[in-house]
Subunit: 201 residues, 2 copies
DNA sequence: ATACTAGTTGACCAGTTGGTAAAATGTCAA
DNA sequence: TTGACATTTTACCAACTGGTCAACTAGTAT
């Protein structure tokens, strides 16, 4: 016990990286095992199926996202509108960083990618991603609500519908950046997102 | 010649339907052939590979989209803002219709789905989808430009950037609808899209 | 020492994958 | 009728898929 880097941990790390960059179907159990340096028998000691591994991987991905993006972006050290801006700017930064580090394509959002690949055929995975989205939407909704109270966002804005729209827009531009393989499309989109919230720049 | 329903046509129809609902990897060549009522040998008589079939399928999909959505939505019989509204309302209608007809999940945008599934591993397919997106963006841009001239959209709006954003938003809400398996999320989003364009409703 | 357990291993499985090759059949013009 | 060409069919391939299983190893508590 108390090993620094257990097989299970390495397996989850491999799954996060490989599935983010290449999706679900294109990454086989064997490849996952090779990447993690374990044998296939061990895989099925830790997870009953590839789908189960994916569900756990999604939890890890959500924890990472919360730590690296949600908490920093929505920290209350700046006014609400600035938090929304940071949400978009940080996403842009991560996409650019990932593209350059991995030396490959724009990878986009791991949740969005898997949602569209598996949404119509893996209901459990679909639900987990829906859950992750809903948690982000809740944070955005609270931020919009706060901005309404400070008068930064006009009263007629519906926080729930708008929060949903803001995340949709974020996912949409990430899809566009991936499709065009160009992170520059992400630059400056925060001002348009604020316009969705009724902010007349 | 002049057969009413050639093998190649049936194959493309099958590919459109199956790949839209289940994606690329989950639909095999054999299943495609069964669905179209042909044998696998015939498949490779018409297309050198599954990837080639997909490229042609994307062209068909774009033609369909243009006929069923772009041309009706952006017809010049109504003012520009109303055209943008129709673009969103028609998309909503198609998603609802498809879900009920097929009796299954929300399918989302065929281009968006394939873009995220294959974007990082099939450059040619990625490019074709990028092309399709760009053609739609061009139509939206022209519409925004026209609305600026009629004064419906304020002068400070950048037509190129905003058109890109509007399509991204459309793709984003389609992703969201698919993830939540609920077409109701698509309702009323046209007003938020107009807010992106600087329209103060 | 013993027994229990978590972890690891390699051999194996049936089914499927995209793709090939050649023979058979159908179609049409000269 | 013939020859040329498009189409269809059947049989086949190596590679790979997710998953199983029994045997083995090592640490740990009794």
């Amino acid at each position: 016990m108390a090993k620094v880097n257990t097989s299970k941990e390495r397996l989850l790390e491999s799954a996060k990286a490989l599935m983010h960059s290449r999706g679900y179907a294109d990454v086989g159990v064997q490849e996952l095992c090779n990447h993690a340096g374990i044998k296939k028998g061990s895989f099925y000691h830790f997870f009953p199926s590839k789908q189960a591994l994916t569900l756990t991987t999604l939890e890890e991905m959500e924890a990472d996202l919360t730590q690296k993006l949600i908490i920093p972006a929505f920290a209350k050290d700046v006014p609400p509108l600035e938090r929304l801006r940071r949400f978009f700017r940080l996403s842009h930064a991560f996409q650019t960083e990932t593209k350059e580090n991995q030396g490959c394509c724009v990878l986009g959002c791991p949740f969005g990618n898997l949602a569209l690949e598996l949404g119509s055929r893996e209901p459990e995975i679909r639900q987990r991603i829906e859950q992750a989205f809903n948690r982000i939407i809740a944070v955005i909704r609270d931020t919009i609500q706060e901005a309404k109270e400070t008068g930064d966002i006009p009263a007629f804005i519906d926080p729930d519908q708008t929060a949903q729209a803001v995340l949709s827009f974020q996912e949409g531009i990430l899809m566009m950046a991936k499709t065009c393989n160009d992170t520059e499309l992400l630059r400056g989109q925060e001002e348009i997102a604020l316009r969705m919230c009724g902010v007349v720049s």
